[in-house]
Symmetry: C2
Subunit: 362 residues, 2 copies
Amino acid sequence: MSDWPDRRLIDLFGIRHPILQAPMAGASGVALAVAVSRAGGLGALPCALLSPDEVLAQVEAFRQEADGPLNLNFFCHTPPDPDPEAEAAWIAALAPYYAELGLDPEAPRPASSRAPFDEAFCALVETVRPAVVSFHFGLPAPDLLARVRASGARIISSATTVEEAVWLAERGCDAVIAMGFEAGGHRASFLTRDMNAQPGTFALVPQIVDAVDVPVIAAGGVADGRGMAAALALGAAGVQVGTAYLRSPESLIPDFHRQALASARDDGTAVTNLFTGRPARGLYNRLMAEIGPMSTAAPPFPTAAGALAPLRAARPGADFSNQWAGQAAALAQPIGAEDITLALAQDALDQLARLSGRPRPA
Amino acid sequence: MSDWPDRRLIDLFGIRHPILQAPMAGASGVALAVAVSRAGGLGALPCALLSPDEVLAQVEAFRQEADGPLNLNFFCHTPPDPDPEAEAAWIAALAPYYAELGLDPEAPRPASSRAPFDEAFCALVETVRPAVVSFHFGLPAPDLLARVRASGARIISSATTVEEAVWLAERGCDAVIAMGFEAGGHRASFLTRDMNAQPGTFALVPQIVDAVDVPVIAAGGVADGRGMAAALALGAAGVQVGTAYLRSPESLIPDFHRQALASARDDGTAVTNLFTGRPARGLYNRLMAEIGPMSTAAPPFPTAAGALAPLRAARPGADFSNQWAGQAAALAQPIGAEDITLALAQDALDQLARLSGRPRPA
């Protein structure tokens, strides 16, 4: 399978298939990255919930198991200043649930642990020298970004609009991920907060392709060979795939999330800010249905998560937990991530050959 | 150009290219249908704003200009009972605008004129025998639907979810339009009101293809050959295209709408219920920005339109007018609709050939 029509990502990252595994904080770790890498895709480690030491250990574990390049992914949000008033409003909105579960809303709660890319992470990148560093929510400060670039890493980030893609390309990203509205997990949005205007993958990809010179990676709804073929047809150089891996044995999601995915529907997700304060797509659950998926009471990312932790501890399961998933969750298969990756590549090439009216030789 | 990989729609409708012109009430008429038909696509006449006599005249005009099959499109909503309380709440929400324009909120207003498919329209179908009858917002009552079928017409309708597609297929639709969230104009939704869960084209099309046996027509974000190629890659048998025609000389939109489209952005639209009471995607304008695109104060379709009519009359232009458009509006070209259609077909086939690594002979 060396017949990809667009080899830009293959050459840029040193991979065999233009398939990027989405780094999914809390849902993916070394095993998934290794499996995707072995299949010829780009394995990724999400670092936002890890300490630098934990990242270092995971990188070493990955490198013992796989020869391929590695993508380290970091958030680059600006942590908000403490805002007791906003926090109190959020607790008030959740008060009925605290009461239902017999919890004390005045009891101390854990602080949220999503860490932005900083000096310590940057030093780690300079030490382990990953082939690719990807960012979510924009890019870090220019001095940190320059150090990442000097480490030799290829730099990518996600755009949810043409404006964001142009912003990223102007700052030297080697490729841009076009993250359509279908995508699971946190919206990468960093220049807009208007979730009503977020473009879907089908509309977003060609418009970003027209606006930037770097290769574009399609994300959001890409879950099988048809989706990968369609992404290439829209002008993308490759795809980033997340939800399609969530049912694999390498995924780290809890059982209730895995079970919910087994009966996922096309219309079973929404973008919600309830779980972290930042919009993210996940399967509808009780909290989203009762409060509504978007609430002005949710405090800034990542502080909204703190007030939900006691609810989740008292009532484990779907009711108060985020279950990130994209709109193509129903296409995810409960098979190994290496097989998922190989099937994506094979089926996409087969689909393109079939549509051109000339079947590929077996 | 006889090398379409999927000929189901070509055979079903008797067209040369699997391209359906979206019937756009208020924005398209005979000229657009004729131009698309001459190019080998399926021309359509939107009938929701017309009387049966007006439809009859337009059918006759079409048939004098074009030899191809014709698609007559009807709404099949249930008109709501009068609800003075809801109407008063809507007037109250709009009161600042009435005051700004010096209008009397107590003055009589025009009733909305969107007519559902009924006995008179059905008799018209039996008389003019169009090749295709398409419906929006579900299907009409079984007795009317049976008469349409007996007239010899192919019957199609739009689905915004897998559930709606299955519902339509079970009731005998010959093909189903998969209307992704990117699409301009009224959402076809008839089994759901949850706009937060509406799937994008990229996720919706393959899931509907997997769920029904009839051919699937992709709609929403399809505006050039890349989009058409991608739709086929996702498993669609063809495409329905609306926004891509809005800048053609055959389009009937007013100048302010045409000018806004010339600078359209990927993130410049939202789904709004302000203009008719039913969710529809259009370019952001003052009313949407100030009230928010979705309002619980808007009364049921189509009555919300009545209270906006005096505002539009007093302030013609974008402020209080719907400007329906999909998320790929920036890809629309100001060229003739026949050329748009031919380019869609040619570019889609070229794109598929290019991606398979084997250029088509010139």
